[in-house]
Amino acid sequence: MTRDIVNHLLFEVATEVANKVGGIYSVLKSKAPITCKQYGLKYLLMGPLNPQSVQIEVEPVDWEDEANFHVKEVQWSLRSMHNRGVRFTYGRWLIDGAPMVILFDLNSVRSYLNEWKADLWEIAGIPSPEGDFETSDAILLGYTVAWFLGELAHMNQTNAIVAHFHEWLAGVAIPLCRKRRIDVVTIFTTHATLLGRYLCAGNVDFYNNLDKFDVDAEAGKRGIYHRYCIERAAAHSSDVFTTVSQITAYESEYLLKRKPDGILPNGLNVVKFQAVHEFQNLHALKKEKINDFIRGHFHGQFDFDLEKTLYFFIAGRYEYRNKGADMFIESLARLNHRLKASGSKMTVVAFIIMPAKNKSYTIDELGGQAVVRQLENSVKDVTQLISKRIFEHAMRYPHNGTKTEIPTSLDELLKPSDKVQLKKRVFALRRPEGTLPPIVTHNMVEDATDPVLNQIRRVQLFNNSYDRVKIIFHPAFLNANNPILSLDYDEFVRGCHLGVFPSYYEPWGYTPAECTVMGIPSITTNLSGFGAYMEDLIEKDQAKDYGIYIVDRRFKNPNESVEQLVDYMEDFVHKTRRQRINQRNRTERLSDLLDWRRMGLEYVKARQLALRRAYPDEFKELTGGTELDDSNMDTLAGNPKVKVARPLSVPGSPKDSRASSVGAVMMTPGDLGTLQDANNADDYFHLSMGVDEDAEDDEQSNY
């Protein structure tokens, strides 16, 4: 009696299936297309039922109709559970790829809670206090999933079953699978460790003490010991244990006491535009929207040239230190100093987009936007009148005493009433004596103790006219429906010039990754998963040519890191417009590296490894009896590891004869302007991705 490991069934279990809470949702959702393409109906997602989100996200399917199941035993298992009172929703998740989901109604099994809690204590020694509802739900979900997997493994003995669990909230089932000998293969992925999160939230010198923490005591102190136990038990009893980045892997090794078997970095669903320059156009378009906001915000002190203004931003959860807002502000102050000292004409407007407690917009902010709109409208009205007058005048010539073909005096075009109207609007732009454009767009609840504001106060970046660096703190999420800065987050990112994310604790770092796929250069650190990943992938010192600036926060002390950050920003400020466009082109090309089509390969490897550990003999038979080593693991997954090299220099095109005659002026892929050139650009990269249109088919044949 053996199982078919090639045609295995895949289940992914998480609390964020069809229910957006945090980052796992994005991971599952963006990954769904490639996983569905590979597995088709052999892929199912499982999670708890959330009545609100299920209505929007899931199209229910009749589970009693066998036609709706690819594997009939799945239906049998569900029926058997239904007969014992377990309720669930079976349906199609309305996202790209449309995977099937089973969402268990935890209330239908709540009567088992005490029995299961006692069992968990007995078999795994995991305590569960009263009153922690999150943990109770995790236990209910874990036992229900284990129940289901056990049923299925009994009824279907032909296919191997791989169950992949995300985060501790879904992890209770893993020790159950091991202890109760459920015939499935398990993979556990932590996207950050519980303890790491808690420790970093508490502002400790985390990395320098990673090997010294007494994990049990620290967890106990924070009242999360039972949760920590679940996470640790899941890590230890899974067949394959993974995290999202090397940094988090290291963290897990010390805090969860198991070395991860591999890294499953988070990918993105990269939307490729038909025309390569499309994202550049979008940048210009969205930038204009930000320009509108800036005019309103700085009314009365609008003395800088928007053509010579760069938009920097930091965005994320309001974790002041973890996200590196402290370094950002510090470096902005130093950048301001340098730009002033060098007499630069460039202006930098730095946005801090971090939701904090606030009491809606300030009057000043709303008023500022309004007076500018008023002026705009008045100008429009007057312009209309002027064109009418020119027309009238021209029509009348040479009658009615009109002596010239066109009006010659300004008074004729601009009547006193118009002037009054315009002047009124211009006066409205003035600011009260001695006031400066605001820093915050909202009224803050904790204005006096807010760390961002306090640091801005200390470094005295108050948007003075002489400051070359201006700061705007927007303590709320961006939304196209907001009355000011009405842009969605991704539109805003497209309109900016540089994303700055000098994080201290950042297991993966979707924010800089998103910048990259939108062709916006970004600054990250080698303490963020993304930064470390890119550093690993791109030749040293080449990263910044691709618009990925990586600040060293490991070997440098904070002061040196800040200096490096300032150097990077200064370097960016001194780029010409053309250089920035080229850099954006190169940045956007990197998006292939972050696409799930590439990142997903690591998931393939994780599943292979899990199957290989559970079914060593079958696996050997499948691969022709040869032992596999790591290198052919890579080849099996179709992923030769190649580093991205320097942007290859190519001679200028024949048209550009001057450039080639100068000789020293060489072109980089980013300089390519034509469509045809861009279509060949893959070669310049040496990415040799090995995954293309039919790559998924290759993957399947590897099994």
Partner: protein, 411 residues
């Protein structure tokens, strides 16, 4: 001959004294014998071995002359009398010992003495131009800088005097008889020399020196920050007054005028490297450790480091990051491979085996009458891994014939 003199009466101030001497050595013209560095040392420090041989050797290298005096005991009438006033000036009883300062007037081997507190930092060799202001000074005169707290009084941290045994006697007399206005030497000296205090009853005089010979920091005055910018090039000496000495609070302790504290720290680090590399005096060692977070000696430090270093030392709302902070993750070895290796090392998971005090857990569900620590068997007692099927709870577990097809690592 001119003397440049400082005073050491407590090992707490040793870093200050060392750094000051080290800096003065740098600033004094090489090969000139016109000025000598002299230290007044409290005998007690040497006798009780508080300093240690290394530190003493370094002091001997740095100073031309070391004069030892007995400290005045707390029972001395001079101290007793001032105890009350001292209490009023926060808890700085250590200032009492600065009565040692009076011994300056006994150093008659020098024509004139430039006295410097150990918590000052001379910025350049222009500091010695201070002697130009006092070319015709008599022993009835004292040259000093107005105190920023009350400019009609002088600050006794930096002063030029003319030693004279007579004056020492008079001063000593006065200190015993009269109450010092601040309970310490500065009061007595003002009462003795400052016409503002003695209303012309004496012939003594105060020669007022420019403030930049003794710029006290921190300073809360509203003129201070613009002035320190304006006079930045003229500053000759910074005096770190108050409890917040540079060496007391690590390299990031102060929220005041970081430039000079940083300068102090780089001198101090330089000095440590030059003189204390091989054999470290305990106090210095501890200081270095706390501030740099580096291994200077490898003993049982792990606990201390954990206690000292778990909180990041940069407070962004108060100051820019110091140059002397340790790196944030130098030991993070992420080059480690996580490369899908097929070998599975089964690590017995001992998570719940350790009794832990979790304040959030009142009582575990399964055993409401015991604490967690009691109920958990210790690791030694339970042999691992020995698989036993747990009692069934799921319906499918009732089918006992069924054997899983996969391999389990703990079978």
């Amino acid at each position: 001959m001119l003397g440049v003199v400082t005073l050491l009466y407590s090992s707490d101030y040793l870093p200050g004294t060392l750094t000051l001497a080290y800096q003065l050595r740098k600033l004094l013209p090489k090969g000139s014998h016109e000025k000598k560095l002299c230290l007044i040392l409290s005998e007690e420090l040497v006798e009780e071995g508080q300093l240690g041989d290394t530190a003493l050797n370094v002091l001997e290298t740095l100073f031309d002359e070391i004069v030892q005096f007995k400290p005045i005991g707390l029972s001395d009438p001079i101290i007793k009398q001032n105890q009350i006033n001292l209490m009023m000036l926060e808890n700085r009883s250590e200032l009492a010992f600065t009565f040692l300062k009076l011994h300056l007037w006994e150093l008659t081997q020098y024509d004139k003495v430039l006295y410097l507190d150990s918590d000052v930092l001379p910025l350049d060799s222009d500091i010695f131009k201070i002697f130009d202001h006092v070319s015709s000074q008599t022993s009835d005169q004292i040259a000093a800088v107005p105190d920023c707290g009350w400019p009609d009084l002088f600050n006794s941290g930096v002063m030029v005097i003319k030693p004279n045994k007579e004056k020492y006697k008079e001063l000593h007399d006065m200190a015993t008889k009269e109450l010092s206005i601040d309970g310490a030497d500065q009061g007595i000296l003002n009462q003795f020399f400052n016409p503002m205090c003695h209303d012309g009853n004496r012939l003594t005089e105060w020669i007022r020196l420019p403030f930049f010979y003794n710029v006290t920091s921190p300073n809360a005055g509203y003129q201070y920050s613009p002035a320190i910018k304006f006079f930045a090039n003229k500053l000759k000496l910074v005096h770190f007054i108050g409890k917040n000495k540079p060496w007391k609070h690590g390299s990031t302790g102060g929220i005041y005028n970081d430039k000079y504290r940083n300068q102090w720290w780089s001198l101090y680090m330089e000095l440590c490297q030059q003189y204390f590399q091989s054999e470290l005096d305990i106090d210095i060692d501890q200081l270095c450790r706390k501030t740099k977070g580096v291994n200077l000696s490898s003993d049982d430090r792990s606990e201390e480091i954990l206690a000292v270093n778990t909180t990041p030392s940069w407070n962004p709302a108060a100051e820019p990051p110091s140059k002397y902070l340790p790196a944030e993750a130098p030991n993070l070895n992420i080059a480690k491979s996580y490369n899908w290796e097929s070998e599975l090392v089964v690590i017995p998971d001992d998570t719940p085996m350790k009794p832990v005090k979790d304040t959030s857990i009142k009582e575990p569900i399964a055993s409401s009458d015991t604490t967690i620590g009691d109920v958990i068997p210790s690791v030694e007692e339970e042999p691992l891994p020995h698989y036993e099927r747990p009692k069934p709870i799921f319906p499918w577990e009732l089918n006992t014939d069924y054997k899983p097809s996969r391999v389990f690592p703990d079978d």
